[in-house]
């Protein structure tokens, strides 16, 4: 039983949902992000936020996966001041929606003045609404950007135990943990963390405050990042308690501070939830063993389309 606490399902297919459910994902968190191309109207951003609190939740439910999300203005689009101002006006309304477990993903891309302005404004919003925060750390000038993100969280009066610093690597993890933050790792080929490296980190740091996610999106990425890391860790002799923490319990604990994600949502769901049409988790229902299948396998295996 796993949680993927960072997955951009709006960019993924139903094959992925099917493969994730089969691999044992019971819940996932979809952070608001940059969809690969800048939005140029406030309205398109608002519709995007509506999609992740509504339609995407329904889509996930059809596969027995509970869907949660975080809302925020990402760092790239923070550089369009007109858009950013507009989005900031709408954000408080979305922050109070059901299943919104944090403000995020927010932070720095190129570490510009405008990115800094809207990062701070959203940290203040999270603080005022008592919501956790998911921080996106930059791809470039990463080490300094990560330290700076934590400096600013503290300047804005946030409690580190309410903040997940995501996309960590070997160079940033020590400081993140030492300062009391949750350390997220995105198992994402080529640009972020690999799962063999992740297992080495687990050997070194154990499972306290470490969170594994897939960050799967529109790029070359793997929606089974969490399940595959758990399996590899198991093969390499990492104990079950640690695996459970980093692939399930830690994410539940920090995002659970929002009051919007509870284990009972998937452990004790109604047979079919008439109000959301959540179909229940087939693994939990049928007691099947989780299995890792290649997404799209169904497409390859069968010539017939009925």
């Amino acid at each position: 039983m796993y949680i993927d606490p960072h997955a951009h399902m709006i960019s993924r297919t139903t094959d992925d949902y099917e493969a994730m459910a089969a691999a044992g994902i019971v819940a996932l968190i979809e952070p608001a992000f940059w969809v690969g191309q800048p939005r140029t109207f406030v309205g398109t951003y608002v519709d995007y936020l509506s999609t992740i609190v509504g339609w995407e939740r329904f889509r996930a439910g059809q596969f027995g996966i509970r869907h949660y999300c975080t809302v925020g203005l990402n760092s790239k689009e923070a550089n369009n001041e007109e858009l950013a101002e507009g989005v900031m006006e709408w954000l408080p309304r979305f922050a109070l929606k059901e299943g919104v477990v944090a403000i995020g993903e927010i932070g720095y891309d190129e570490q510009t003045a405008l990115e800094d302005k809207y990062f701070r404004a959203q940290l203040a919003l999270a603080r005022d609404l008592q919501l956790p925060v998911m921080v996106h750390t930059p791809h470039r000038d990463k080490k300094r950007g990560t330290s700076r993100s934590m400096d600013v969280c503290e300047e804005m009066g946030l409690d580190p135990s309410w903040v997940v610093i995501d996309h960590n690597n070997e160079e940033t993890v020590r400081e993140t943990l030492d300062r009391g933050y949750w350390a997220g790792f995105s198992i994402y080929p080529s640009t972020k963390m690999g799962n063999a490296r992740m297992v080495e980190l687990l050997k070194q740091y154990g499972g306290e405050r470490i969170i594994v996610d897939s960050a799967c999106d529109w790029g070359i990425s793997d929606c089974l990042g969490v399940a595959k890391t758990a399996q590899l860790a198991r093969q390499q002799g990492i104990d079950e308690a640690t695996i459970r923490k980093v692939t399930y319990a830690n994410a539940l604990e920090v995002y659970g501070k929002s009051g919007q994600i509870n284990e009972s949502d998937w452990l004790d769901p109604p047979g079919i939830d008439q109000r959301t049409l959540f179909e229940g988790n087939s693994i939990l229902r049928g007691g099947r063993e989780p299995r890792i299948e290649v997404p799209g396998k169904q497409r390859g295996d069968s010539l017939l389309i009925e």
Partner: protein, 289 residues
């Protein structure tokens, strides 16, 4: 004596909410004062599930009876306490803008649970005709539960839809695998155009080798003659047990000699129907049993 829907909702919510009942009642009162802003409404709507939870609304058969008296066709069975409270907030809110504008704004930013609550409340809002566009958006939704918030146990469609919209709602219900028996006013709003659309749809399904919902024949029954559909009913008659029951139910309203002879070929089912053991409302339940 008839109680207004708003008062019924408040009564049920306060009764079930325990300690938070007072919070709900006082916030609702201030929303109705005319001095509350839309932001106050948004915050109240956001806090409702946090404060009241999301359990089913607990109703007695007397409550259900009073709902029918308060607004014909209103069936609050299956509502949740947070949904009921949100509808009460919308009915109670006295704002400066026309109701449809406030509704549109809420709908554009609604999460899945809010959409369902917004649409379930349709028959109870002020100026119901002004919501025609908003209802269209809900009917077009791909979220089945949102569509069903309009199509099921809700008299708004019966009371306010024109024939075109009504017909497409019924067709869509079948198309997305939804049930017809919870649609309020299905027999009253039967019409030959709908029967023709559904018969075409059945032919399309058969041609593709797919099953046809037995409920479809309820809307075809009254127009069997004008559609020349007896061959089709004969085919349904030779299908599954449930299909045979559906065919009998549909043929029962037809007086032609051939309909009589088709019915005579299934005396067992015809007897169950004539004695009231099988009807359109329990047709699919008996299939599950």
């Amino acid at each position: 004596m008839t109680t207004a829907p708003m008062n019924l909702l408040s009564e049920w919510i306060v009764r079930q909410a325990g300690e938070e009942g007072a919070w709900f009642a006082s916030r609702l009162h201030s929303l109705s004062s005319g001095a509350a802003s839309e932001q106050d409404l948004h915050i109240f709507l956001g806090l409702i599930p946090r404060k009241l939870g999301k359990q089913d609304l607990a109703l007695t058969s007397e409550d259900v009876r009073r709902a029918e008296l308060a607004h014909a066709g209103w069936r609050p069975q299956g509502w949740s306490i947070d949904g009921a409270a949100r509808v009460a907030a919308l009915i109670g809110y006295q704002g400066p803008r026309p109701f449809a504008d406030t509704f549109k704004d809420l709908r554009r930013t609604a999460d899945a649970g809010e959409l369902i609550a917004l649409y379930r409340g349709l028959p109870l809002y002020p100026e119901p005709e002004s919501l025609a566009f908003e209802v269209g958006e809900g009917l077009r939704s791909n979220m089945r539960a949102v569509f069903e918030a309009i199509a099921h146990d809700n008299p708004y469609a019966r009371d306010h839809f024109d024939e075109h919209r009504w017909n497409h709602m019924v067709l869509k219900a079948l198309f997305v695998g939804s049930r017809l028996s919870p649609v309020v006013g299905l027999d009253e709003r039967a019409n030959p155009e709908l029967a023709r659309i559904l018969l075409d749809y059945a032919h399309e399904r058969w041609a593709a080798g797919r099953a046809v919902s037995p409920e479809l024949w309820r809307c075809v029954g009254p127009f069997i003659d004008s559609l020349d559909a007896l061959d089709d009913l004969q085919r349904v008659m030779s299908g599954t047990e449930t299909e045979r029951k559906a065919a009998v139910l549909a043929l029962t309203v037809n007086q032609s000699p051939r309909a009589r002879s088709l019915l005579a070929a299934s005396p067992e089912v015809a007897r169950l129907v004539s004695e009231g053991h099988v009807d359109w409302n329990n047709l699919l339940q008996s299939e599950a049993a």
